[in-house]
C-alpha cells in the first residue's frame, strides 16, 4: 500500500492452492510478502500415538495416510524399518516388486504435483493429462492390492500377495506409453513462455541454505545437491538398478520442476529394469514368527493354525531395540524412528516427514516475492498435509 501499512491476510486452510489444509498468515507490503507464518495441524490424527497401541502389521494402513499421493512409498519406509529392527531381509522378488510399486507411487505423487502445480499457476490443461495417466497406475495398483489410493500392499516380511499376470501386462503397456505422455507434459510447460515467467527466479534457495534448512528430495536436488537416498544409502535392492539423479542449478521453482520432470523418466527406467529382471521365488520371508502360513496349511496343520492365530490375534513380537531408517519418498527423506520393547506394538514411532521440514522453509522461499508467487512456491515444494500433520 502506498502509505506503507502492512496488510495481514489469511490464506487457507480452505484455499485450493495450499495443497491441503495448510493455513498461511501472510503479511503484505503492497503486493510484496514481508512475513509468512504457516499454521499446521488441521489434519492431525495422532498416527504416531495410534501406532503405539497397534501391532506392527496393523500400523501399515496408517502409513498410507501420511503422503497419500504416493502411499506405497510410506509402506516401504515403514516395512523396511521394522525389518531392519528385526534383522530380516525379504526375498529378492519381494524387493523388486516393492521397487516397482514404490516407483509407480512416486510417479503418482509427481502426477498430482504437476497437475495441481500447473493448475494453481493457471495452466489448466496439464491436470487432465496427468490424471489420465495417473488413472492407469491407479488401475494397476487396484489390480494387485484391491485398493487404489491406499494400497497397504506391503507387509512386514514381504507383500500381501504376489503380482498378477494382468498387472504385468498393464505395466508393460504403461512403460511403452509413458515416455510419450511425459513428452506431452513437456510440450505443455517446459518451453511455455508464461510458465517460464511464472517460475524462473522465483523462490530461489541456494544449495547451502537448502542443506541448512534440512530440505530433501526434489526440492533439495533442485538446488544442485545430488542427495538421493536410493543412491546414498540403497535399500530394497536399489543398488541393482542403473538410474541418474537429476539435479538443478539455481534452485528456483523452474529447476525443481525440471528435476521432477526428469524423475518421471528415471522412475520409469527403474520400473523397466525391475520388471525385466524380476526374479522368481516367494514374496514373503520364511519366518514363522513374522509371517502367516499358507491358508491351505492352516486348514490341516495345527501348528500352522496356531501360528496364524497368534500372528492375527496378537501380532509378531519385535525384539527390544531402536532403529532409524529412511527411504527416498516422493517429497524427500521419509524416515521412521522405531523403538521396540519386546512386545507386539512399537513403544514409539516417530516419523521424519520431509514435508514438515519443507514447510519450515516456506518463509525463506517466499520473502520479497509477490503474493501471486506464493502459489507457485507452495506448488514447487510439493507438500502434502497428511504427512506434515500425521
Amino acid at each position: 500500500m502506498a502509505d506503507g501499512k502492512i496488510l495481514t491476510i489469511n490464506m487457507g486452510p480452505h484455499h485450493p492452492a495450499t495443497h491441503g489444509v495448510l493455513r498461511l498468515v501472510l503479511e503484505l507490503d503492497g503486493e510484496t510478502i514481508v512475513k509468512v507464518t504457516p499454521h499446521i495441524g488441521h489434519l492431525h490424527r495422532g498416527i504416531e500415538k495410534l501406532a503405539e497401541n497397534m501391532n506392527y502389521q496393523q500400523v501399515i494402513p496408517l502409513t498410507d495416510r501420511f503422503d497419500y499421493t504416493a502411499a506405497s512409498l510410506n509402506n516401504l519406509g515403514y516395512c523396511t524399518a521394522v525389518e531392519k529392527l528385526l534383522g530380516i531381509e525379504v526375498p529378492k522378488r519381494a524387493q523388486y516388486i516393492r521397487v516397482i510399486m514404490s516407483e509407480l507411487a512416486r510417479i503418482m505423487g509427481h502426477h498430482l504435483w504437476i497437475g495441481s502445480h500447473a493448475l494453481d499457476i493457471g495452466a489448466m490443461t496439464v491436470v487432465f493429462y496427468a490424471f489420465r495417466d495417473r488413472e492407469m497406475i491407479m488401475n494397476m495398483v487396484e489390480e494387485v492390492s484391491g485398493y487404489r489410493l491406499t494400497p497397504s500392499y506391503m507387509r512386514v516380511g514381504g507383500l500381501a500377495r504376489d503380482i498378477t499376470p494382468e498387472f504385468i501386462k498393464c505395466l508393460r503397456e504403461f512403460i511403452k506409453w509413458f515416455p510419450t505422455a511425459v513428452a506431452g507434459y513437456n510440450t505443455l510447460l517446459t518451453d511455455n513462455i508464461i510458465w517460464r515467467k511464472r517460475t524462473m527466479d522465483i523462490g530461489v534457495i541456494s544449495a547451502e541454505e537448502a542443506v541448512n534448512y534440512g530440505l530433501t528430495g526434489p526440492s533439495l536436488r533442485g538446488s544442485g545437491v545430488p542427495y538421493d537416498l536410493r543412491k546414498v544409502k540403497p535399500y530394497s535392492s536399489y543398488d541393482d538398478f542403473d538410474f541418474k539423479v537429476p539435479v538443478g542449478a539455481k534452485g528456483d521453482v523452474y529447476d525443481r520442476y525440471l528435476v521432477r520432470m526428469e524423475e518421471f523418466i528415471q522412475s520409469l527406467n527403474i520400473i523397466e529394469q525391475a520388471l525385466e529382471n524380476l526374479p522368481e521365488g516367494p514374496v514373503n520371508v520364511d519366518n514363522p514368527l513374522i509371517f502367516n502360513p499358507q491358508i491351505d496349511d492352516v486348514q490341516k496343520d495345527i501348528s500352522a493354525l496356531i501360528r496364524r492365530f497368534k500372528i492375527q490375534c496378537q501380532g509378531p513380537v519385535i525384539p527390544e531395540g531402536e532403529i532409524y531408517h529412511a527411504v527416498e519418498g516422493s517429497k524427500g527423506e521419509l524416515g521412521f524412528y522405531l523403538v521396540g520393547d519386546g512386545s507386539e506394538s512399537p513403544y514409539r514411532m516417530k516419523v521424519r516427514s520431509p514435508c514438515f521440514i519443507l514447510v519450515s522453509a516456506l518463509e525463506k522461499l517466499m520473502l520479497g516475492h509477490m503474493i501471486a508467487d506464493a502459489i507457485a512456491i507452495i506448488g514447487s515444494i510439493d507438500i502434502v498435509l497428511g504427512e506434515i500433520d500425521r
Binding site: 519366518n287 514363522p288 514368527l289 502360513p293 496349511d297 486348514q299 490341516k300 496343520d301 495345527i302 501348528s303 500352522a304 493354525l305 496356531i306 501360528r307 492365530f309 497368534k310 500372528i311 490375534c313 496378537q314
Partner: protein, 345 residues
C-alpha cells in the same frame, strides 16, 4: 546350601531345590508346560529339559534336584530341537480348534508353539475323533484337546485332596476320566490349572474371547473367606469368573459357588421394585409405600409384644459396613439383641 552354575551364573540354593526353582530364583527362564507353582513337579511334558555338564542325556529341570558344583545349560540348539520335537509330538493329535476354543489367546500350548517357531509338523498320526464329554455338569472335557500334562489330576489330588479324576487308558486312547462322580464338587480346580482348552467351563462356553473381555478384580461375596476373583465382563455382562494364581487368600482356588454362581447377576428374574402382598397376590409398589408398611408393622408388633418379639437375620453376602448398620438398627431402633446371620451361603 548347594552352589551350582546355571548359564554361567553362580547360584546358591538350599539342598533339595530343583534346577527349575534355582534358575527361577535368578530370573533365568526355562520354558515349562506341565509344571505349575502350586503342584509337585509332574515331569510329563519334557519342555524344561536342560543340559548338565557330564551327563549324556538332558534332564528335566523341574524334577532334578540341584547338586553341588554342577554346570547347567538352559538353552542350546540341541535343547531347542528337543523342545520343538516334544511340542510337535503333543501337537500331532491336537484338533484344529483354536478359532472356536475358549482358551484361544491365553493358551500355554499356543504360546510355546509360537515361541519355538513351529510352522510345520513332520509327523502324522491317525486321527482319533472323540466327543467332548462332561467331567461334571459344569465342566466339559475335550479329550482331543488334552495334552496329558496331568495338571488337573494332580491338582484334584494335591490341592483339593479329592482325587475325583484320574487317567484311564494308555497311548492315544488315554484320557482323563471321572473316577467317582460323587466325589467331584465341581470346584473347577482342574479348570484353573489346565494349560489348554481341554477343560472348559460349560456356563460360559463360546460367550467371549480373551482379548474382548475385561477382567475386573473383586472379592467374592459368597462367604466370609474373601476369595479374590476376576469377573470376566463383556458388553456389561459377566460371562465367566476366573482367578489369578497366587493372588489373595485363595491363591488361585475357588469353590463351586465362587466360580460358577454368577448368572444371577444378569438374571431377568431379579426383583427391581418392592412387592406388597395384597389379597394374596404380590403387587409392585413404591419404596415409600413399602417402607411405610414395614415401619408400621414393626411398630405394631413392638407395641403389642415388646421389642424382644422381633429378631433380625442378616446375610454373609453383605459387607461389614452393611452388617454393622443392620445390627445398629436392630439394637438402637428396634431395641432388641436378637441379631444373627446365616454364617454361610
Amino acid at each position: 546350601m548347594v552352589t551350582l552354575t546355571i548359564d554361567g551364573k553362580e547360584v546358591t540354593v538350599p539342598q533339595g531345590t530343583t534346577i527349575l526353582e534355582a534358575a527361577r530364583s535368578v530370573d533365568i527362564r526355562i520354558p515349562t508346560l506341565c509344571y505349575h507353582d502350586r503342584l509337585n513337579p509332574i515331569g510329563s511334558c519334557r519342555m524344561c529339559v536342560v543340559e548338565i555338564e557330564g551327563y549324556t542325556h538332558p534332564m528335566a529341570a523341574c524334577t532334578t534336584p540341584v547338586d553341588d558344583g554342577i554346570e547347567v545349560v538352559t538353552s542350546s540348539e540341541r535343547l531347542t530341537r528337543i523342545r520343538q520335537d516334544s511340542l510337535k509330538l503333543i501337537l500331532v493329535n491336537h484338533p484344529l480348534d483354536c478359532p472356536v476354543c475358549d482358551k484361544g489367546g491365553e493358551c500355554l500350548l499356543q504360546d510355546l508353539t509360537f515361541e519355538f517357531g513351529i510352522d510345520q509338523l513332520e509327523y502324522q498320526a491317525a486321527k482319533v475323533e472323540r466327543d467332548s464329554q462332561y467331567a461334571s455338569p459344569l465342566i466339559r472335557y475335550w479329550p482331543d484337546r488334552c495334552i496329558m500334562c496331568l495338571r488337573c489330576v494332580t491338582a484334584c489330588q494335591e490341592i483339593k485332596g479329592i482325587g475325583a479324576i484320574s487317567i484311564a487308558g494308555d497311548g492315544y486312547g488315554a484320557q482323563v476320566v471321572t473316577v467317582d462322580a460323587d466325589k467331584c464338587q465341581s470346584c473347577g480346580e482342574c479348570l484353573q490349572v489346565c494349560p489348554t482348552g481341554a477343560l472348559t467351563e460349560d456356563l460360559s462356553r463360546y460367550k467371549g474371547r480373551t482379548w474382548l473381555i475385561e477382567r475386573v478384580p473383586t472379592t467374592c461375596t459368597y462367604c466370609g473367606c474373601g476369595c479374590q476373583l476376576e469377573l470376566n465382563v463383556q458388553n456389561d455382562r459377566i460371562i465367566a469368573v476366573t482367578t489369578k494364581d497366587g493372588v489373595g487368600i485363595n491363591k488361585g482356588s475357588l469353590c463351586v459357588k465362587g466360580r460358577f454362581g454368577y448368572e444371577f447377576v444378569n438374571s431377568d428374574e431379579r426383583l427391581t421394585k418392592p412387592l406388597i402382598k395384597r389379597d394374596g397376590k404380590f403387587e409392585e409398589a413404591s419404596w415409600d409405600e413399602a417402607l411405610d408398611l414395614v415401619a408400621e408393622k414393626f411398630s405394631a408388633i413392638k407395641g403389642e409384644y415388646g421389642p424382644g418379639a422381633i429378631g433380625g437375620l442378616t446375610s454373609a453376602r453383605c459387607t461389614n459396613e452393611e452388617n454393622y448398620l443392620f445390627q445398629k438398627f436392630m439394637r438402637a431402633a428396634i431395641g432388641t439383641n436378637n441379631v444373627d446371620h446365616c454364617a454361610r451361603l
